[in-house]
Amino acid sequence: MNITLFDTIFYLLAFLTLGSAAIMVFSKNVIYSAVGLLFTFFGVAGIYVLLAADFVAVVQVLVYVGGILILLLFGVMLSNKITNIEITTETLHFLPASLVVIGIFVVLYRVFITTDWNPVGSYNFDPTTHEIGTLLMTDYLIPFEIASILLLGALIGAAYIARKD
């Protein structure tokens, strides 16, 4: 099996994603976890590019890194400052949890290995923005509109909960 540049990039990105995800889950420091999540998001965005999903990759960086991660970091900082106590991060119930989790993984592994998946097919890296945009305005018009109501509701709810009164 000869390893092409494409394969190398895949393995590098997979390593980056998994390594930083592991740091995120197992680190004792919340800030390290948040930074780990940052690199996981970037790694996954890179893999989207390999899968020819350019629009999703860009949105991943914009929404997850630029929005959700920043929000979570605010949460970390805010909670630290308000409470002024050390955030508890000791890991509990490790053994039962890991047994459950290993079980889930083995089953998922079986699922993916016994199913006959072909190699991922299309590697024509055409821009996908046009197709996705068309789908959102035609086939997926109604979920798109529901999503806007979802955001409106979340906005009202979050503003009410966080507001002083």
Binding site: D139, I149, I156, Y160
Partner: protein, 504 residues
């Protein structure tokens, strides 16, 4: 399909989407009205919500004349089944608005956001009942979940309320993560997200049954969270206890019934040979999902009933009892016959009256005596006879004793189960044993109210119950008895509503 056809279908669908459009308009109107009315704590928001609900009610009834159709390029279905659920949800919302007006917990707070969020939640439930595409199902479930998080936390100055909201949010996000993974595996197996097409692909091809099983189990995590079935019930007692009581009453009916709508539609359309005509149909050969749901149903009712015995808080007791009732209602889903679906629909309506009623009595007592503990309910029958008698009716009905509506509901469920053959006899036995257990803990509340002496230090003078409360109790209590004696109209409605679109 050509692009212009898709766009034309979207435009033509608007006519079938009128109730939801009106509801959206109502929400926007309420946001503006809230801004204008902010200064005075007026009852206007609830009045607007009630009038709006009335208009939406007419639009829904009007849908019966339009006939069944798949709309917005097979994203949603308008059929008798979804109309039935929309009526149930709207009835829940209207009653919860009345409960909220009376609620002492909510008085003195700005209720603008409260009623607005309640109407958005109703819209989410409507969409859950008619969704026929995994994306619509997902986004409707998320809409319902996220708005519920906010409503549970509405009494944010009370620690219990915000704690409940947080638990709800964490469990909700976790279970929707599991559900999404299941959906993604199903997408990988079939290459489509539309449940009709999933059904066609799975029926026409031999798929890996292990992968299908895992995917169904994971998807059931998300649906099970909505109906609070084992093992995704953990949130429900805490949330029911911590949330404002009208919201608790809402959550115990609305999202639960919507979860049943999604389960019935998804499993029967995607994973069985349902064709909309046959009385009895079969699950796909390579996945025995009725058996999975049967096990979940047995576990759900057993756990709900056994844990309910140990509760001292009436709200928590009703929470566990409503877990158990989700288990009973699942009995109608496992048999894959129109009789089973019919029994589930009938039971959900009956459950609406008796469960809302029981919660309403708790609201009344909580407002007056300021407690939800069984011990503090002692001797209430002599101090407040009308709510106590009403509570007796609701609890008899929840147990399933004749001549109440609960008896008829349970009877239909067990009849459908027995008729399905010896395969599910064990489940019927489990269900019957559970009803006996349930009798024990419901009787505890009744014993405290009717037979125990008033605790020392509590004045025995009669409590004042406002006529408003008595009227609402009558609205819930009379049907609970009446349906137990004369159930033909409701049975007709339910039997007309068992049909959902088998294909697009």
């Amino acid at each position: 399909m050509a692009l212009s056809d898709i766009i034309r279908d979207n435009i033509n669908s608007l006519n079938y989407f009128l109730p939801e459009l009106l509801l959206t308009g109502l929400v926007l109107l309420m946001i503006i009205a809230d801004l204008l009315l902010k200064k005075e704590r007026s009852p206007w928001m609830s009045i607007i919500a009630l009038i709006g609900s009335g208009v939406v009610l007419f639009a829904i009834i009007n849908q019966y004349e339009l006939g069944s159709r798949s709309i917005f390029n097979n994203m949603l279905a308008v059929d008798e089944f979804s109309i039935f659920f929309k009526l149930l949800f709207l009835a829940t919302t209207i009653l919860v608005i009345f409960l909220s007006i009376a609620s002492v917990e909510l008085s003195g707070r700005s209720v603008g956001e409260y009623f607005t969020l309640l109407m958005i939640l109703t819209l989410g439930l409507f969409l859950m009942a008619s969704a026929t595409h995994m994306i619509t199902i997902f986004i409707a479930i998320e809409l319902v979940s996220i708005i519920s998080f906010a409503l549970v936390t509405y009494l944010k100055t009370r620690r219990r309320s915000s704690e409940a909201g947080l638990k709800y949010a964490i469990y909700g996000a976790f279970s929707s993560g599991l559900m999404l993974y299941g959906i993604s595996i199903l997408y990988g197996l079939t290459g489509t997200l539309n449940i009709y097409e999933i059904g066609e692909v799975l029926a026409g091809r031999d798929t890996n049954s292990l992968a299908l099983l895992i995917s169904v189990l994971l998807i059931m995590a998300g649906f099970g969270y909505k109906i609070a079935s084992v093992p995704f019930h953990f949130w429900s007692p805490d949330v029911y206890e911590g949330a404002p009581t009208p919201i608790t009453a809402f959550l115990s009916i609305g999202p639960k019934a919507a979860g049943f709508a999604v389960i019935i539609r998804f499993f029967n359309v995607a994973l069985s040979n349902y064709d909309g005509v046959a009385e009895q149909w079969l699950a796909l050969s390579n996945i025995n999902w009725p058996q999975i749901i049967a096990v979940i149903a047995a576990a759900t009712m057993t756990l709900g009933n056994l844990v309910a015995i140990a509760q001292d808080n009436v709200k928590r007791l009703l929470a566990y009892s409503s877990i158990a009732h989700a288990g009973y209602a699942l009995l109608g889903v496992v048999v894959l016959s129109s009789q089973g679906v019919y029994a589930t629909l009938f039971y959900l309506v009956v459950y609406y009256f008796m469960n809302l009623g029981a919660f309403f009595v708790v609201i009344i007592f909580q407002d007056i005596i300021g407690s939800e503990k069984i011990d503090d309910f002692k001797g209430l029958a002599s101090r407040a006879p009308i709510p106590a008698i009403a509570m007796g009716v609701f609890l008899f009905s929840l147990t399933g004793l004749p001549p109440t509506a609960g008896f008829i509901g349970k009877f239909y469920l067990f009849a459908a189960l027995i008729k399905a053959g010896p395969e599910f006899y064990w489940l019927a036995i489990v269900g019957l044993l559970n009803s006996v257990v349930a009798l024990y803990y419901y009787a505890r509340i009744l014993k405290a109210m009717f037979f125990d002496k008033i605790s020392e230090g509590v004045s025995p003078e009669p409590l004042k119950i406002s006529p408003y409360y008595v009227t609402l109790l009558a609205v819930l209590g009379i049907p609970t008895i009446l349906v137990g004696l004369y159930w033909a109209p409701l049975a007709n409605l339910a039997s007309h509503s068992v049909h959902f679109l088998p294909t697009f």
